[in-house]
């Protein structure tokens, strides 16, 4: 048994592997395959294993992602939620989320969001030209117009949403413009990922970007955020960095602790650690399938699987190296296994471009920002 297991913070359910668009940097395999749909019996079985695991806190996040979840009908999710609620124990609040490309949002979807207080994350890379450079339909047409139409529907219903965007090398000179564009929609928060080497995305425009250049991008972004009107722009990555700096607990890295994140593929395969491990090429992916909801008697069965034991050993080895070699370990906890594997070929690696840009640059820029002469912190009651 590993020294630390769970508690389960997040369950990622791959309701479908299909996506109606075909982003240039997408990490998913088989995203044109419409037959990869999670059956409701798989949903029910997954829910039972999770709720009977004894690894839950008082809150559980369930996110539908990895493929475009809105390509399935709203009724699918209404039924799935009903099945989950049927076995949900008292004392565990389940919070549902969709990470969606936003192109298919209509009033029927928003009815479902409202009914279950579903958190909605929209993938938007910025203004039309930046977004359409990578986020295209298979016809080659950009998806920006339809994403903005989906956002307009949410706004018309006053339904809250957050953005997650992908920063590419083309975005770097446009940080202030990007921030203003995002904020013009008044999202609840803005999260910025990077174009990263990961699973099926084998070329990244960010690999050649040095840390200082990305720090400059972050500084410009934060400066522009500060220029905006109240109530203040929430930038996910700044908040996460502040949390990591203040708490300084490396064991908060949920991608390296078994069963903090539970990943269920459309066919019921179970994995843990980085969700994208299930997006590797099929031969390599098998290393990270530690069980299947239809064959496991208990979720903890996966901890006895030889593939889990081998994977966890390699991940632990990488974390120990990170703890010895990296001054940022206290605020990171050992990186993301899928990025280590995708960038270096090994789970026991240490520094990656992903951690250089998404951890180190954010720590450096946030500390410099907080250390600006004349700056100060303030506490105010939440609105």
């Amino acid at each position: 048994m590993p020294p630390a297991v769970g508690p389960i913070d997040l369950v990622v359910l791959q309701s479908t592997g299909f996506c109606n668009i075909d982003c240039a940097y997408c990490y998913l395999p088989d995203r044109g395959n419409v037959r990869q749909t999670m059956t409701l019996s798989t949903v029910a079985r997954a829910a039972r294993l999770i709720f009977e695991s004894g690894l839950l806190k008082d809150r559980l996040d369930i996110v539908w992602h990895a493929g475009e979840p809105l390509t399935l009908p709203p009724n699918y999710y209404a039924d799935a939620i009903e099945l989950i609620e049927a076995v949900q124990p008292a004392g565990v609040a389940v919070h549902y989320g969709f990470q969606t490309n936003g192109t298919l949002i209509d009033d029927v979807w928003i009815d479902l969001f409202e009914r279950h207080a579903i958190s909605v994350g929209i993938s938007l890379d910025g203004p039309r030209d930046l977004h359409n450079r990578n986020r295209k339909y298979r016809s080659g047409e950009g998806s920006h117009e339809r994403v903005v139409a989906g956002i307009a529907r949410l706004q018309a219903r006053r339904y809250p949403f957050h953005f997650i965007g992908v920063v590419t090398a083309d975005s770097l000179p446009r940080a202030a413009e990007l921030l203003r564009y995002y904020w013009s929609f008044r999202p609840t928060s803005i999260g910025l990922n990077i174009d990263e080497l990961e699973a099926q995305n084998r070329h990244s425009s960010m690999g050649r970007v040095d840390t200082a250049a990305f720090e400059g991008f972050i500084t410009e972004l934060l400066s522009e955020a500060a220029r905006q009107d109240d109530p203040g722009v929430a930038i996910r990555d700044f908040q996460r960095t502040m949390a990591a700096l203040i708490s300084g607990t490396p064991e908060d890295n949920d991608q390296v602790v078994p069963l903090r994140i539970v990943n269920i593929a459309f066919n019921g395969n179970i994995s843990t650690f980085s969700p994208e491990l299930l997006a590797l090429d099929s031969a390599e992916r098998e290393r990270f399938v530690f069980g299947n909801v239809h064959h496991c008697a208990a979720l903890s069965d996966i901890l006895e699987d030889p593939r889990f034991i081998a994977t966890y050993g390699e991940i632990r080895c990488g974390i120990e190296s990170c703890s010895r070699e990296c001054g940022y370990f206290q605020y990171c906890g050992g990186g993301a296994p899928v990025n280590k594997l995708s960038e270096t070929g090994a789970l026991n690696a240490t520094e990656t471009d992903f951690c250089r840009l998404t951890k180190k640059a954010w720590v450096n820029a946030s500390l410099k920002f907080a250390d600006t002469p004349g700056s100060r912190f303030e506490l105010t009651p939440a609105l």
């Binding site: 500060a226 502040m242 991608q255 903090r260 994140i261 009651p381």
Partner: protein, 87 residues
């Protein structure tokens, strides 16, 4: 823009909003201050300690008294939903 440019940093366990307030003189001088600063020459742990000291000096809300335990006060479990990039 108001006189106090700020960035939303966190929610606390007690539901307060923590913001970083930048100099009223404007972001331009702030950006220049960053460039001219020597903070990166200090060890990371020293810079983090300085951040924590700055947080401890926040005037506390009247109902809460002095912030004695900064980690406990800023227990981010109510706002930090893990580290995965798609949440």
């Amino acid at each position: 823009m108001g006189s106090n440019p700020k960035v939303f940093a966190a929610l606390t366990t007690t539901g307060m909003v923590l913001s970083l307030i930048l100099p009223a003189s404007g972001i331009e001088s702030h950006a220049a201050g960053i460039e001219a600063g020597t903070s990166t020459t200090h060890p990371l742990s020293h810079r983090v300690d300085r951040l924590k000291a700055k947080l401890r000096n926040i005037p506390p809300p009247a109902s809460q008294g002095k912030i004695e335990n900064i980690v406990q006060f800023f227990n981010f479990s109510n706002c930090s939903r893990g580290t995965w990039k798609n949440c």
